[in-house]
Protein backbone atom coordinates (compact mmCIF):
# COMPACT_ATOMS: atom_id res chain seq x y z
CA UNK A 1 0.00 0.00 0.00
CA UNK A 2 1.21 3.47 -0.90
CA UNK A 3 2.05 5.73 2.00
CA UNK A 4 3.29 9.29 2.28
CA UNK A 5 6.17 8.52 4.60
CA UNK A 6 9.95 8.80 4.55
CA UNK A 7 11.39 5.83 6.41
CA UNK A 8 9.18 2.99 7.66
CA UNK A 9 11.29 2.62 10.79
CA UNK A 10 10.98 6.32 11.63
CA UNK A 11 7.26 6.92 11.16
CA UNK A 12 6.41 7.22 14.85
CA UNK A 13 9.27 9.62 15.61
CA UNK A 14 8.43 11.81 12.62
CA UNK A 15 4.73 11.70 13.39
CA UNK A 16 5.32 12.91 16.93
CA UNK A 17 7.69 15.60 15.71
CA UNK A 18 5.12 16.91 13.24
CA UNK A 19 2.32 16.68 15.74
CA UNK A 20 4.12 18.61 18.44
CA UNK A 21 5.20 21.26 15.93
CA UNK A 22 1.62 21.63 14.75
CA UNK A 23 0.17 22.12 18.23
CA UNK A 24 2.87 23.75 20.34
CA UNK A 25 0.27 25.53 22.45
CA UNK A 26 -1.39 22.26 23.32
CA UNK A 27 1.27 19.58 23.71
CA UNK A 28 4.85 19.24 24.76
CA UNK A 29 7.27 16.38 24.26
CA UNK A 30 9.24 15.37 27.34
CA UNK A 31 12.99 15.72 27.17
CA UNK A 32 13.22 12.69 29.46
CA UNK A 33 11.53 10.47 26.89
CA UNK A 34 10.52 11.44 23.37
CA UNK A 35 7.62 9.00 23.40
CA UNK A 36 5.94 10.84 26.25
CA UNK A 37 3.76 13.90 25.58
CA UNK A 38 2.01 16.08 28.13
CA UNK A 39 -0.18 19.16 27.99
CA UNK A 40 1.75 22.32 27.17
CA UNK A 41 0.03 24.10 30.02
CA UNK A 42 1.09 22.87 33.44
CA UNK A 43 -1.94 21.32 35.19
CA UNK A 44 -2.97 22.62 38.59
CA UNK A 45 -1.70 21.29 41.92
CA UNK A 46 -3.93 18.64 43.41
CA UNK A 47 -5.47 17.60 40.12
CA UNK A 48 -5.53 13.88 39.47
CA UNK A 49 -3.41 13.20 36.39
CA UNK A 50 -4.99 11.34 33.50
CA UNK A 51 -2.63 9.28 31.40
CA UNK A 52 -3.56 7.45 28.22
CA UNK A 53 -1.61 5.64 25.59
CA UNK A 54 -1.09 2.56 23.52
CA UNK A 55 0.21 1.63 20.13
CA UNK A 56 0.43 4.16 17.32
CA UNK A 57 -1.66 3.86 14.18
CA UNK A 58 -4.95 4.81 15.84
CA UNK A 59 -4.61 8.58 15.37
CA UNK A 60 -6.30 10.82 16.45
CA UNK A 61 -6.20 8.32 19.35
CA UNK A 62 -4.33 8.60 21.56
CA UNK A 63 -2.08 11.62 21.05
CA UNK A 64 -5.00 13.76 19.86
CA UNK A 65 -6.79 13.52 23.17
CA UNK A 66 -4.34 15.34 25.38
CA UNK A 67 -5.73 18.65 26.57
CA UNK A 68 -8.17 20.39 28.91
CA UNK A 69 -10.96 18.08 29.99
CA UNK A 70 -9.28 14.97 28.61
CA UNK A 71 -5.85 13.48 29.28
CA UNK A 72 -2.83 15.24 30.76
CA UNK A 73 -0.30 12.90 29.22
CA UNK A 74 0.11 10.17 26.67
CA UNK A 75 2.65 7.43 26.10
CA UNK A 76 3.18 6.54 22.48
CA UNK A 77 4.09 3.02 21.38
CA UNK A 78 5.27 1.71 18.06
CA UNK A 79 2.56 0.94 15.54
CA UNK A 80 0.02 -1.40 17.13
CA UNK A 81 2.38 -2.05 20.04
CA UNK A 82 2.09 -0.95 23.63
CA UNK A 83 4.61 1.66 24.73
CA UNK A 84 7.28 0.36 27.10
CA UNK A 85 7.18 1.40 30.75
CA UNK A 86 9.70 4.29 30.34
CA UNK A 87 7.52 6.87 28.59
CA UNK A 88 4.56 5.90 30.75
CA UNK A 89 6.64 6.40 33.85
CA UNK A 90 8.16 9.70 32.73
CA UNK A 91 4.76 11.13 31.82
CA UNK A 92 3.38 9.91 35.12
CA UNK A 93 6.04 11.80 37.03
CA UNK A 94 5.31 15.01 35.19
CA UNK A 95 1.51 14.94 35.42
CA UNK A 96 1.30 13.81 39.03
CA UNK A 97 0.26 16.81 41.09
CA UNK A 98 0.32 15.06 44.43
CA UNK A 99 -3.03 13.31 44.10
CA UNK A 100 -2.01 10.41 41.90
CA UNK A 101 -2.53 9.42 38.31
CA UNK A 102 -5.10 7.29 36.52
CA UNK A 103 -4.05 5.12 33.60
CA UNK A 104 -6.77 4.53 31.02
CA UNK A 105 -5.83 2.06 28.32
CA UNK A 106 -7.13 -0.81 26.23
CA UNK A 107 -7.06 -4.33 27.55
CA UNK A 108 -4.27 -5.88 25.50
CA UNK A 109 -1.65 -8.22 26.91
CA UNK A 110 1.14 -5.82 26.03
CA UNK A 111 -0.49 -2.75 27.48
CA UNK A 112 -1.45 -4.59 30.63
CA UNK A 113 2.15 -5.62 31.19
CA UNK A 114 3.81 -2.34 30.26
CA UNK A 115 1.39 -0.03 32.05
CA UNK A 116 1.42 -2.47 34.94
CA UNK A 117 5.21 -2.31 35.20
CA UNK A 118 5.13 1.47 34.94
CA UNK A 119 2.54 1.71 37.71
CA UNK A 120 4.72 -0.43 39.96
CA UNK A 121 7.77 1.67 39.19
CA UNK A 122 5.88 4.93 39.77
CA UNK A 123 4.93 3.69 43.20
CA UNK A 124 8.35 2.24 44.05
CA UNK A 125 10.55 4.96 42.62
CA UNK A 126 8.46 8.05 43.23
CA UNK A 127 5.69 7.08 45.59
CA UNK A 128 3.03 8.06 43.08
CA UNK A 129 -0.34 6.40 43.52
CA UNK A 130 -1.60 4.99 40.25
CA UNK A 131 -5.11 3.73 39.53
CA UNK A 132 -5.79 1.82 36.35
CA UNK A 133 -8.90 1.33 34.24
CA UNK A 134 -8.67 -1.14 31.40
CA UNK A 135 -11.06 -0.53 28.56
CA UNK A 136 -12.97 -3.66 27.50
CA UNK A 137 -15.71 -2.38 25.20
CA UNK A 138 -15.28 -4.74 22.24
CA UNK A 139 -18.25 -7.10 22.52
CA UNK A 140 -16.93 -9.32 19.75
CA UNK A 141 -13.66 -10.09 21.47
CA UNK A 142 -14.92 -12.39 24.23
CA UNK A 143 -18.24 -13.75 25.45
CA UNK A 144 -20.16 -11.92 28.14
CA UNK A 145 -19.08 -14.30 30.89
CA UNK A 146 -15.49 -13.32 30.18
CA UNK A 147 -16.05 -9.59 29.78
CA UNK A 148 -12.81 -8.85 31.61
CA UNK A 149 -10.92 -10.48 28.73
CA UNK A 150 -12.40 -8.18 26.11
CA UNK A 151 -10.26 -5.81 24.10
CA UNK A 152 -10.59 -2.06 24.18
CA UNK A 153 -11.49 -0.22 20.97
CA UNK A 154 -13.35 2.99 20.09
CA UNK A 155 -15.19 3.14 23.42
CA UNK A 156 -11.97 4.21 25.04
CA UNK A 157 -12.88 7.70 23.86
CA UNK A 158 -15.81 7.82 26.27
CA UNK A 159 -13.85 6.30 29.13
CA UNK A 160 -11.09 8.86 28.64
CA UNK A 161 -13.67 11.61 28.42
CA UNK A 162 -15.30 10.53 31.69
CA UNK A 163 -11.96 10.27 33.49
CA UNK A 164 -10.76 13.56 32.03
CA UNK A 165 -13.90 15.42 33.02
CA UNK A 166 -13.98 13.95 36.53
CA UNK A 167 -10.35 14.88 37.09
CA UNK A 168 -11.00 18.35 35.70
CA UNK A 169 -13.88 18.76 38.16
CA UNK A 170 -11.52 18.03 41.04
CA UNK A 171 -12.52 14.47 41.90
CA UNK A 172 -9.94 12.52 43.86
CA UNK A 173 -8.16 9.49 42.44
CA UNK A 174 -10.58 6.92 43.81
CA UNK A 175 -13.51 8.80 42.37
CA UNK A 176 -11.88 9.34 39.00
CA UNK A 177 -11.17 5.62 38.87
CA UNK A 178 -14.73 4.84 39.92
CA UNK A 179 -16.16 7.11 37.21
CA UNK A 180 -13.87 5.74 34.51
CA UNK A 181 -14.65 2.18 35.56
CA UNK A 182 -18.36 2.95 35.43
CA UNK A 183 -17.97 4.48 31.98
CA UNK A 184 -16.21 1.33 30.84
CA UNK A 185 -18.85 -0.90 32.42
CA UNK A 186 -21.56 1.07 30.63
CA UNK A 187 -19.83 1.07 27.24
CA UNK A 188 -20.12 -1.45 24.41
CA UNK A 189 -18.71 -1.39 20.88
CA UNK A 190 -19.26 -3.61 17.88
CA UNK A 191 -17.36 -3.13 14.65
CA UNK A 192 -17.17 -4.30 11.09
CA UNK A 193 -14.13 -4.48 8.83
CA UNK A 194 -14.14 -4.11 5.04
CA UNK A 195 -10.61 -3.50 3.84
CA UNK A 196 -7.23 -4.09 5.46
CA UNK A 197 -4.49 -1.73 6.53
CA UNK A 198 -0.81 -2.43 6.21
CA UNK A 199 2.07 -1.79 8.57
CA UNK A 200 4.60 0.63 7.04
CA UNK A 201 7.36 -1.83 7.81
CA UNK A 202 5.84 -4.86 6.09
CA UNK A 203 3.60 -3.24 3.48
CA UNK A 204 1.46 -6.37 3.67
CA UNK A 205 -2.32 -6.21 4.13
CA UNK A 206 -3.26 -7.10 7.70
CA UNK A 207 -5.99 -9.49 6.50
CA UNK A 208 -7.67 -10.52 3.32
CA UNK A 209 -11.33 -10.12 2.48
CA UNK A 210 -12.89 -10.70 -0.92
CA UNK A 211 -14.23 -7.76 -2.91
CA UNK A 212 -17.76 -8.35 -1.59
CA UNK A 213 -16.90 -9.49 1.93
CA UNK A 214 -17.10 -7.90 5.34
CA UNK A 215 -16.06 -9.21 8.74
CA UNK A 216 -18.02 -8.60 11.91
CA UNK A 217 -16.01 -8.07 15.05
CA UNK A 218 -12.70 -7.59 13.31
CA UNK A 219 -10.18 -6.21 15.78
CA UNK A 220 -8.69 -2.72 15.81
CA UNK A 221 -5.37 -4.15 14.68
CA UNK A 222 -6.74 -6.50 12.06
CA UNK A 223 -7.23 -9.37 14.49
CA UNK A 224 -9.72 -11.88 13.07
CA UNK A 225 -13.36 -11.20 13.90
CA UNK A 226 -16.27 -13.47 14.65
CA UNK A 227 -17.99 -13.77 11.32
CA UNK A 228 -17.16 -13.24 7.67
CA UNK A 229 -19.90 -12.82 5.13
CA UNK A 230 -21.18 -10.95 2.12
CA UNK A 231 -21.17 -7.18 2.48
CA UNK A 232 -24.66 -6.14 3.60
CA UNK A 233 -26.43 -2.80 3.16
CA UNK A 234 -25.43 -0.30 5.85
CA UNK A 235 -28.77 -0.57 7.65
CA UNK A 236 -28.46 -4.33 8.03
CA UNK A 237 -24.88 -4.04 9.22
CA UNK A 238 -25.93 -1.46 11.81
CA UNK A 239 -28.89 -3.60 12.86
CA UNK A 240 -26.50 -6.43 13.56
CA UNK A 241 -24.00 -4.28 15.46
CA UNK A 242 -26.62 -2.57 17.60
CA UNK A 243 -28.41 -5.85 18.21
CA UNK A 244 -25.26 -7.43 19.57
CA UNK A 245 -24.61 -4.41 21.78
CA UNK A 246 -28.09 -4.32 23.21
CA UNK A 247 -28.15 -8.07 23.77
CA UNK A 248 -24.95 -7.76 25.73
CA UNK A 249 -26.05 -4.65 27.62
CA UNK A 250 -29.83 -4.23 27.64
CA UNK A 251 -30.95 -0.59 27.79
CA UNK A 252 -34.43 0.36 28.93
CA UNK A 253 -36.75 2.76 27.24
CA UNK A 254 -36.24 6.19 28.74
CA UNK A 255 -32.55 5.68 29.45
CA UNK A 256 -29.96 8.08 28.07
CA UNK A 257 -26.95 7.15 25.97
CA UNK A 258 -24.00 8.66 24.16
CA UNK A 259 -23.30 7.25 20.70
CA UNK A 260 -20.09 7.12 18.71
CA UNK A 261 -20.07 5.96 15.11
CA UNK A 262 -16.37 5.59 14.44
CA UNK A 263 -14.57 5.19 11.14
CA UNK A 264 -11.52 2.95 11.04
CA UNK A 265 -9.52 5.06 8.58
CA UNK A 266 -10.66 5.04 4.99
CA UNK A 267 -14.38 4.89 5.59
CA UNK A 268 -15.96 8.19 4.57
CA UNK A 269 -17.92 10.51 6.82
CA UNK A 270 -20.77 10.04 4.37
CA UNK A 271 -20.94 6.34 5.24
CA UNK A 272 -20.65 7.10 8.95
CA UNK A 273 -23.57 9.54 8.81
CA UNK A 274 -25.62 6.95 6.93
CA UNK A 275 -24.80 4.44 9.65
CA UNK A 276 -25.64 6.92 12.39
CA UNK A 277 -29.01 7.48 10.74
CA UNK A 278 -29.85 3.85 11.34
CA UNK A 279 -28.50 3.80 14.90
CA UNK A 280 -30.75 6.74 15.68
CA UNK A 281 -33.75 5.01 14.12
CA UNK A 282 -33.25 1.88 16.18
CA UNK A 283 -32.66 3.70 19.46
CA UNK A 284 -35.50 6.15 19.09
CA UNK A 285 -37.83 3.30 18.21
CA UNK A 286 -36.87 1.70 21.50
CA UNK A 287 -37.43 4.95 23.36
CA UNK A 288 -33.74 5.29 24.18
CA UNK A 289 -32.64 8.92 24.30
CA UNK A 290 -29.46 9.93 22.50
CA UNK A 291 -27.94 12.53 24.78
CA UNK A 292 -24.97 13.32 22.57
CA UNK A 293 -23.55 11.92 19.33
CA UNK A 294 -20.08 11.66 17.90
CA UNK A 295 -19.62 10.70 14.27
CA UNK A 296 -16.19 10.59 12.69
CA UNK A 297 -12.84 8.87 12.77
CA UNK A 298 -12.04 9.04 16.48
CA UNK A 299 -9.93 5.91 16.69
CA UNK A 300 -8.53 4.44 13.52
CA UNK A 301 -6.50 1.45 12.43
CA UNK A 302 -4.23 3.14 9.95
CA UNK A 303 -6.11 3.14 6.64
CA UNK A 304 -8.39 0.24 7.45
CA UNK A 305 -11.88 0.31 5.94
CA UNK A 306 -14.78 -0.29 8.29
CA UNK A 307 -16.57 1.26 11.22
CA UNK A 308 -17.87 0.61 14.68
CA UNK A 309 -20.82 1.65 16.79
CA UNK A 310 -20.27 2.48 20.45
CA UNK A 311 -23.06 3.01 22.94
CA UNK A 312 -22.48 4.26 26.47
CA UNK A 313 -25.30 4.24 28.99
CA UNK A 314 -25.43 7.50 30.89
CA UNK A 315 -26.55 8.16 34.41
CA UNK A 316 -26.67 11.79 35.57
CA UNK A 317 -23.04 11.78 36.59
CA UNK A 318 -21.77 10.38 33.28
CA UNK A 319 -24.08 12.60 31.23
CA UNK A 320 -22.53 15.67 32.86
CA UNK A 321 -19.06 14.39 32.08
CA UNK A 322 -19.95 13.70 28.44
CA UNK A 323 -21.13 17.31 28.22
CA UNK A 324 -17.98 18.62 29.89
CA UNK A 325 -15.96 20.86 27.57
CA UNK A 326 -12.65 19.74 26.17
CA UNK A 327 -9.82 21.37 24.26
CA UNK A 328 -7.41 18.96 22.63
CA UNK A 329 -5.60 19.24 19.30
CA UNK A 330 -7.87 16.67 17.68
CA UNK A 331 -11.04 17.07 19.69
CA UNK A 332 -12.61 20.25 20.96
CA UNK A 333 -16.01 20.46 22.62
CA UNK A 334 -17.65 23.59 23.90
Amino acid sequence: MKKLINNPTKVVEEMIEGYVKAYPNHVRQLTENERALVTAKETREGKVGVLIGGGSGHEPAFIGYVGDGMADGVAVGNIFASPPPDPILEATKVIDKGEGVIYVYGNYAGDVMNFGMAAELADLESGIRVGSVLVTDDVASAPKEEKEKRRGIAGEFFVTKAAGAAADKGYNLDDVVRVAQKANDYTRTMGVGLTPCSLPQTGKPSFVLAENEMEIGLGHHGEPGIEKGDLQPADQVVDRLVHDILTDMPIDSGEKVAVLVNGLGSTTNMELYIMFRRVEQILSEKGIEIHRSYVGSYSTSLEMGGASVTITKLDEELAAFIDHPADCPMYVQK
Binding site: N78, A81, P84, G110, S141, K149, L199, P224
Partner: protein, 216 residues
Protein backbone atom coordinates in the same frame (compact mmCIF):
# COMPACT_ATOMS: atom_id res chain seq x y z
CA UNK B 1 31.74 -26.68 29.87
CA UNK B 2 32.59 -22.99 30.03
CA UNK B 3 30.89 -20.17 28.18
CA UNK B 4 32.55 -16.75 28.09
CA UNK B 5 31.02 -13.31 28.04
CA UNK B 6 32.15 -12.99 24.45
CA UNK B 7 30.25 -16.14 23.59
CA UNK B 8 27.12 -14.75 25.25
CA UNK B 9 27.50 -11.70 23.04
CA UNK B 10 27.92 -13.96 20.02
CA UNK B 11 24.67 -15.63 21.03
CA UNK B 12 22.91 -12.26 21.21
CA UNK B 13 24.43 -11.27 17.86
CA UNK B 14 23.19 -14.53 16.38
CA UNK B 15 19.70 -13.76 17.64
CA UNK B 16 19.91 -10.37 15.95
CA UNK B 17 20.81 -12.03 12.65
CA UNK B 18 18.27 -14.80 13.04
CA UNK B 19 15.44 -12.37 13.77
CA UNK B 20 16.22 -10.33 10.65
CA UNK B 21 16.00 -13.55 8.65
CA UNK B 22 12.77 -14.70 10.30
CA UNK B 23 11.09 -11.28 10.55
CA UNK B 24 8.73 -11.78 7.64
CA UNK B 25 7.79 -15.27 8.74
CA UNK B 26 6.98 -14.06 12.27
CA UNK B 27 4.85 -11.22 10.88
CA UNK B 28 3.08 -13.67 8.64
CA UNK B 29 2.15 -15.85 11.61
CA UNK B 30 0.99 -12.79 13.56
CA UNK B 31 -1.11 -11.54 10.63
CA UNK B 32 -3.03 -14.79 10.78
CA UNK B 33 -3.58 -14.65 14.53
CA UNK B 34 -3.04 -11.12 15.73
CA UNK B 35 -1.97 -7.74 14.52
CA UNK B 36 0.83 -8.82 12.21
CA UNK B 37 3.70 -7.07 13.93
CA UNK B 38 5.60 -9.73 15.83
CA UNK B 39 8.51 -9.82 13.37
CA UNK B 40 8.67 -6.04 13.30
CA UNK B 41 8.61 -5.83 17.08
CA UNK B 42 11.34 -8.43 17.50
CA UNK B 43 13.43 -6.73 14.87
CA UNK B 44 13.13 -3.30 16.47
CA UNK B 45 14.02 -4.74 19.85
CA UNK B 46 16.98 -6.79 18.70
CA UNK B 47 18.33 -4.01 16.54
CA UNK B 48 18.38 -1.86 19.66
CA UNK B 49 20.22 -4.64 21.49
CA UNK B 50 22.63 -4.83 18.59
CA UNK B 51 23.46 -1.15 19.00
CA UNK B 52 24.29 -1.79 22.63
CA UNK B 53 26.43 -4.78 21.69
CA UNK B 54 28.38 -2.56 19.35
CA UNK B 55 28.45 0.27 21.87
CA UNK B 56 28.17 0.15 25.67
CA UNK B 57 28.55 -3.63 25.82
CA UNK B 58 31.55 -3.91 23.54
CA UNK B 59 34.03 -4.32 26.36
CA UNK B 60 31.61 -5.61 28.99
CA UNK B 61 32.69 -8.89 30.57
CA UNK B 62 30.07 -9.21 33.31
CA UNK B 63 27.54 -11.64 31.86
CA UNK B 64 24.96 -10.42 34.37
CA UNK B 65 25.30 -6.84 33.12
CA UNK B 66 25.10 -8.00 29.52
CA UNK B 67 21.86 -9.79 30.23
CA UNK B 68 20.35 -6.89 32.18
CA UNK B 69 21.25 -4.35 29.51
CA UNK B 70 19.81 -6.69 26.87
CA UNK B 71 16.52 -6.93 28.75
CA UNK B 72 16.26 -3.21 29.51
CA UNK B 73 17.23 -2.19 26.01
CA UNK B 74 14.77 -4.58 24.42
CA UNK B 75 11.97 -3.32 26.66
CA UNK B 76 12.65 0.36 26.09
CA UNK B 77 12.75 -0.17 22.36
CA UNK B 78 9.58 -2.14 21.90
CA UNK B 79 7.05 -2.27 24.68
CA UNK B 80 4.44 -4.49 23.03
CA UNK B 81 3.66 -7.89 24.61
CA UNK B 82 7.04 -9.39 24.04
CA UNK B 83 8.93 -6.41 25.45
CA UNK B 84 8.02 -7.06 29.08
CA UNK B 85 8.12 -10.82 28.53
CA UNK B 86 11.57 -11.23 27.01
CA UNK B 87 12.92 -8.33 29.05
CA UNK B 88 11.80 -9.98 32.25
CA UNK B 89 13.41 -13.18 31.01
CA UNK B 90 16.79 -11.55 30.50
CA UNK B 91 16.59 -9.49 33.66
CA UNK B 92 15.65 -12.43 35.88
CA UNK B 93 18.16 -14.66 34.13
CA UNK B 94 20.84 -12.05 34.80
CA UNK B 95 20.90 -13.04 38.48
CA UNK B 96 22.47 -16.37 37.55
CA UNK B 97 25.20 -14.53 35.64
CA UNK B 98 25.85 -11.71 38.08
CA UNK B 99 29.51 -10.75 38.35
CA UNK B 100 30.59 -13.65 36.14
CA UNK B 101 32.65 -13.44 33.00
CA UNK B 102 32.67 -17.20 32.54
CA UNK B 103 29.63 -19.40 32.94
CA UNK B 104 29.33 -23.01 33.97
CA UNK B 105 26.62 -25.44 32.79
CA UNK B 106 24.96 -24.85 36.17
CA UNK B 107 24.91 -21.10 35.55
CA UNK B 108 23.38 -21.59 32.15
CA UNK B 109 20.74 -23.91 33.54
CA UNK B 110 19.91 -21.40 36.30
CA UNK B 111 19.77 -18.63 33.72
CA UNK B 112 17.21 -20.37 31.52
CA UNK B 113 15.11 -21.53 34.42
CA UNK B 114 14.95 -17.98 35.80
CA UNK B 115 14.37 -16.68 32.27
CA UNK B 116 11.35 -18.88 31.74
CA UNK B 117 9.98 -18.52 35.26
CA UNK B 118 10.20 -14.75 34.83
CA UNK B 119 8.20 -14.84 31.63
CA UNK B 120 5.61 -17.07 33.21
CA UNK B 121 5.25 -14.73 36.15
CA UNK B 122 5.08 -11.64 33.98
CA UNK B 123 2.51 -12.96 31.49
CA UNK B 124 0.51 -15.28 33.71
CA UNK B 125 -0.31 -17.43 30.70
CA UNK B 126 -0.67 -21.17 30.99
CA UNK B 127 0.13 -24.06 28.72
CA UNK B 128 -2.68 -24.30 26.21
CA UNK B 129 -3.24 -20.53 25.99
CA UNK B 130 -1.45 -20.52 22.63
CA UNK B 131 1.47 -18.32 23.64
CA UNK B 132 5.21 -18.65 23.97
CA UNK B 133 4.53 -20.51 27.22
CA UNK B 134 3.60 -23.54 25.12
CA UNK B 135 7.18 -23.49 23.91
CA UNK B 136 8.83 -22.47 27.16
CA UNK B 137 7.09 -24.66 29.75
CA UNK B 138 8.09 -27.99 28.10
CA UNK B 139 11.56 -26.50 27.63
CA UNK B 140 11.71 -25.68 31.33
CA UNK B 141 10.57 -29.13 32.36
CA UNK B 142 13.01 -30.80 30.00
CA UNK B 143 15.88 -28.68 31.31
CA UNK B 144 15.08 -29.45 34.92
CA UNK B 145 14.83 -33.19 34.44
CA UNK B 146 17.63 -33.68 31.87
CA UNK B 147 20.27 -31.44 33.44
CA UNK B 148 19.51 -33.05 36.80
CA UNK B 149 20.18 -36.52 35.35
CA UNK B 150 23.31 -35.86 33.32
CA UNK B 151 24.73 -32.55 34.52
CA UNK B 152 25.78 -32.15 30.89
CA UNK B 153 24.30 -28.83 29.84
CA UNK B 154 24.87 -29.22 26.14
CA UNK B 155 23.16 -32.55 25.80
CA UNK B 156 20.42 -31.43 28.18
CA UNK B 157 19.86 -28.36 26.02
CA UNK B 158 19.57 -30.53 22.92
CA UNK B 159 16.54 -32.14 24.58
CA UNK B 160 15.28 -28.73 25.69
CA UNK B 161 15.21 -27.49 22.11
CA UNK B 162 13.44 -30.66 20.99
CA UNK B 163 10.82 -30.23 23.71
CA UNK B 164 10.45 -26.56 22.81
CA UNK B 165 9.92 -27.46 19.17
CA UNK B 166 7.22 -29.96 20.06
CA UNK B 167 5.61 -27.34 22.29
CA UNK B 168 5.74 -24.76 19.54
CA UNK B 169 4.18 -27.18 17.07
CA UNK B 170 1.41 -27.94 19.55
CA UNK B 171 0.17 -24.34 19.31
CA UNK B 172 -1.13 -25.13 15.83
CA UNK B 173 -3.93 -27.11 17.40
CA UNK B 174 -4.92 -24.52 20.02
CA UNK B 175 -7.43 -21.68 19.85
CA UNK B 176 -5.91 -18.24 20.58
CA UNK B 177 -6.64 -16.91 24.01
CA UNK B 178 -4.09 -14.24 24.92
CA UNK B 179 -2.54 -11.07 23.61
CA UNK B 180 -3.80 -9.04 20.72
CA UNK B 181 -4.82 -12.33 19.10
CA UNK B 182 -7.23 -13.38 21.85
CA UNK B 183 -10.67 -13.95 20.31
CA UNK B 184 -13.69 -16.12 19.86
CA UNK B 185 -13.48 -17.73 16.45
CA UNK B 186 -11.75 -20.89 15.38
CA UNK B 187 -9.72 -19.29 12.64
CA UNK B 188 -6.58 -19.43 14.76
CA UNK B 189 -6.41 -23.20 14.38
CA UNK B 190 -3.64 -24.45 12.13
CA UNK B 191 -1.23 -21.58 12.71
CA UNK B 192 1.74 -21.59 15.04
CA UNK B 193 1.67 -18.83 17.65
CA UNK B 194 4.29 -16.20 16.69
CA UNK B 195 5.70 -15.89 20.21
CA UNK B 196 5.90 -19.67 20.49
CA UNK B 197 7.91 -19.57 17.27
CA UNK B 198 10.25 -16.74 18.26
CA UNK B 199 10.97 -18.24 21.67
CA UNK B 200 11.79 -21.58 20.06
CA UNK B 201 14.12 -19.79 17.64
CA UNK B 202 15.91 -18.05 20.50
CA UNK B 203 16.46 -21.32 22.33
CA UNK B 204 17.64 -22.97 19.14
CA UNK B 205 20.04 -20.11 18.43
CA UNK B 206 21.45 -20.53 21.91
CA UNK B 207 22.02 -24.21 21.23
CA UNK B 208 23.83 -23.67 17.93
CA UNK B 209 25.90 -20.90 19.49
CA UNK B 210 27.17 -22.96 22.39
CA UNK B 211 27.70 -25.93 20.11
CA UNK B 212 30.05 -24.01 17.86
CA UNK B 213 31.68 -22.48 20.94
CA UNK B 214 32.40 -26.05 22.11
CA UNK B 215 33.87 -27.00 18.75
CA UNK B 216 36.03 -23.92 18.52
Amino acid sequence: MKITAEEIKVFLKNVVTMIEAEKDYLCELDRKLGDGDHGVTMSIGWQAVNEKLEGDLKEEQDCGKISIVTGRTFLSAVGSSVGPLYATGFMRGAKAFQGKSELSGEDLKDFWIAFIEGIKERGKAEVGDKTMIDTLQPALESLQSNFGKSNDFLSAFESVVQAAEKGMESTKDILSKRGRSSRLGERSLGTIDPGAASSFMILKTFLTTIKSAQVA
